[in-house]
Amino acid sequence: MKVELSRRKFLQGSVALSVLGGSLASVPTLWAKEKPSSNNTIVATLCEMCVNKCAAFAYVEDGIVKKLNPNPLFPKSKNMLCARGDAGIHALYDPDRLKYPLIRIGKKGSGEFKRATWDEAYEAILHGTDKFQGLKQILDEEENNRSTIGFCAGEGMGEHTYKQFMGDLLGSKNFINHSSICLQTTIAGYTLTLGSYGKADLENANYVIMAGANRAEAILTPDTMDMFKRTRGRGLKLIVLDPRYTNTAIHADKWLGIKVGTDLAFVLALTYVVIKEVLYNKDFVEKNVDHFETYKKHILTNNYTPEWAEKITGVDAHEITKIARDFMANAPRAVYYQGRRTAWSKQDFQLRRAQAIFTALGGGIDVKGGIVFGKKLYLHSHSVEVPTYTTNKRRIDRNEASIVGKNGTWIGFRNMIVEDRTPYPVRAFFSYKQNPMQSVPNVAKTKTMLEKMDLVVTIDTMPSDTVMMSDVILPECTYFEREDPVKSFGGTQPAIVLRNKVLDPMYETKAVFDILKGLSEKISRPLFDIAAKYDEYIQEEIEDSGADAIYEDDGYNFNNAYEQTQEEINEEIITSTYGEEAYETLKEKGVFYPNMDKYFKKISENEYQYYPEDKKYYTTPGGEKIDVQDTCIDEKAIAALKKNLGTRSGRVECYLSSMIKKKVDPMPVWRDELYSEAPKGMFKFITGRDAKHTQNSTTNNIMLLDIMKENYLWINKAQADEKGISHGDWVSVKSSIGEVKIKAYPTIKIIPDVVFYVHGFGSESTGLTFGHRNGASDNLIIEDTVETVFGSAAMHETVVDVRKV
């Protein structure tokens, strides 16, 4: 039985009401408000189940998303959706979604909240309640030091919008994101060495060393999937170094179970062989490598021989020599894969530098089959008027490591607050789409940090462990229910993509853009008045022009940033460069690039062409494509062309003199004092990802729980036998900071003295009906060790004891 309000009745009722109310609502307006009862549409969207943004089509029937299919038009995601992407519907229709704003009424972390309207929630943020303080009181007491508000964000298309609000408009300097618990060391290592992180051209590489990286399971980046069609004698030799035999290792020609934290010794030994035997691309090195002679001398005099490395890494010296020779024989189509989440060891930055230099010695930089930089299609940025404050203090964690960038160091930032070491009080914390209660090592400290805050505000879709620690919860809609800022993806086959809105926001949720717009209306003026009370610069400006004029014209009225809607901003950005037609293409197909109509071709049911081979941007010195396809010179010669890399010297940087004053080694050095083996009877703990879940964000998704419900402790079979541990037995895993109980998975797929379980499980939030307490959280036992260059987490330095319980 279905009760329906007929179209006719609806119209009659509405018109009658509007007449009674004396309004002049026109009939077309009413028509536009009513949704046709039967409407099947296909909307081009972008997946947000992980960070990759694969293009998808959402099939909508009667206002309900019924199915997601891959959208074959996007060169980056190439007609695929992974398990998580397919299960996106259950993120939209998750019964545990945050549905309306909530305000804390019980003890912090108790999970006691009351339902609130958006206005009440904004009001609570400004003025506080009897349970917590508001921004007005905090900023008044801190004399308008906006940096008293710390804020963090998870990766996503709304991250910039949020950061702009918190950092540029509100004015806080204390921003932290996932960088220091993820890929900071590799991004920095490659950027400082090669000028850019670049992209490994795995479609065309003939020899790939993948160390620790696990492309088949850990964040399934679609542009690396083609590699698995070319393994096992099909063109690409794959060497995998990993303490675990992963799904990536399944595809390897050689799997080497390297000891945890010793990769740098392995790379230095490869470099030794290549230099000693003069196997490197001499032309390339001469034209494009800076300080090569210094590096050469450094490698040779330190005697980084394969035999030396064997003792540290456990990898056979002959194997190291063979890999070094094979790599150079295949260069320039040979890549030492950069890695993604590289928050592993204390020596991680130097490891990434050594990898980058090693790849460069083969000439595999800015060339087909090597590390390519490609091209990015231009999109002009949307600028807003930014206010000036002189009262805001610098970020607290800037001395927590040698180099602390604008993304901060999560562990450094948090520990300073927990240990009362901050130069000024950090009293409020805003979190958007991040879950530090599960993602930052040492959960107990993160909890203490949030407990110390006078105000915690979270913006999210699900009641994560962090959301449960909030004072005010602002429910964001899911990626189906909003249009996000248009984005350009660079590469050999660049494209622009748009996440179109599939449905209107459900419940009382809003897009982050609209959440911030609403918050601006509430707090803009009151906070300006506080600024005017303490900031002498603003006082002078007011004296000259008057408070209202300054407020309106100089960016202090945040509302000005939200005058246009996200849709309007996107339309303007796209049409101004690429015209109306490009915008329409993006609305309809989700993907646009110049000549797409000519270039894009279906080759077979399983294959598409995005750009013809001769139009791909493999070699782009200084950002401009050079056409090497028509010439018949050999690939080593192409690789050896003079590059103009984005480094200071324009060349590959072997020696970074600027590092010396920061007390960082200018060249990669193996430091014994930064490495230790696990004491006898103990294990090194490592963490990682799985293809079926995205970090801790999908563990309430019923479809994904169906294929993976919990995590298991991987332990070497022989060692498990010694301890009498069988498959499925409960074991305790204990480190210096915590203990978890988890089921065991004894396997020959992990080397001795190392144990592993997948990150993301073990949520404590009672708001997650299906995800609550499945398996164990890794960060309950991972110690908060940092590498000292960037303050990045060193997640693989923890030693644990394992026993059967």
């Binding site: 695929m80 397919d86 399971e217 077979s604 169906d706 294929i707 020959i748």
Partner: protein, 226 residues
């Protein structure tokens, strides 16, 4: 039309995209034991070194299927296009077909109170003119290829003419239609769990087997009841 599927199974990475796409597309009941399609992991070691072979699989849509023969009500039937279908209204849950199937491709769907299995996405895709299954479309490494083995010009037959392949449990003589493509190089046979006993086919050697089974069963092909 005679639907069949090849699987370039050495490209599989066990990401389970196919399993989820199948459940989403076809509304398959939730539960780890309720699968129309699956990936089998074979974990072994050679000289102490581990190796894993992955076999994505599903109903083989056998040309000479025993599940149809044992069905007492006609719920399981040969359908046009060479698809083995089930008519859920006729199923009495005797589970005879589940016993008869050598591939364990069938399970009880509690939501429909009937046995369920892969239909090559007939109801959700093929009937609407689409030419791929949900599992094929979503796959990051494009393991699967659905096609018409009666059409010598189809991409599927072209592929089978180029590549050697084997079928699962051929000793059951059910004439299955999932073709597992062998690695191009036999150095990789062991890692893909191809052993000396595996019977290796080419299109020329398998085609007569298909023809024979088709001659026997085609008269039983019925119009699909949805």
């Amino acid at each position: 039309m005679n639907y069949a599927m090849s699987l370039d199974y050495q490209s599989c990475i066990d990401c389970k995209a196919c399993e989820v796409a199948c459940k989403e597309e076809n509304g398959v009941q939730l539960g780890a034991d309720k699968q129309r399609i699956w990936v089998t992991q074979i974990e072994k070691s050679i000289f102490g070194q581990p190796f894993v072979a992955l076999h994505p699989s599903q109903c083989n849509h056998c040309l000479d299927a025993p599940c149809v023969d044992v069905c007492p009500t006609g719920s399981s039937y040969f359908a046009e296009g060479g698809i083995v279908m089930t008519d859920k209204d006729l199923c009495i849950l005797c589970k005879g077909c589940m016993e008869a199937c050598p591939y364990d491709a069938r399970f009880v769907d509690d939501t429909h109170v009937a046995v369920d299995k892969c239909s090559f996405c007939y109801e959700t895709r093929l009937v609407h003119g689409e030419v791929s299954t949900a599992c094929q479309a979503t796959c990051p490494t494009k393991v699967r290829l659905l096609g018409d083995i009666d059409d010598e010009e189809s991409d599927l037959v072209k592929m089978l003419k180029e590549r050697k392949f084997y079928v699962l449990k051929e000793e059951e003589k059910t004439v299955p239609k999932l073709f597992y493509l062998l690695p191009e190089h036999d150095d990789y046979y062991a890692m893909n769990s191809v052993d000396p006993d595996t019977k290796i086919y080419t299109w020329d050697t398998f085609k007569p087997i298909i023809e024979k089974a088709k001659a026997k069963r085609k008269p039983q092909w019925k119009k699909i009841i949805l």
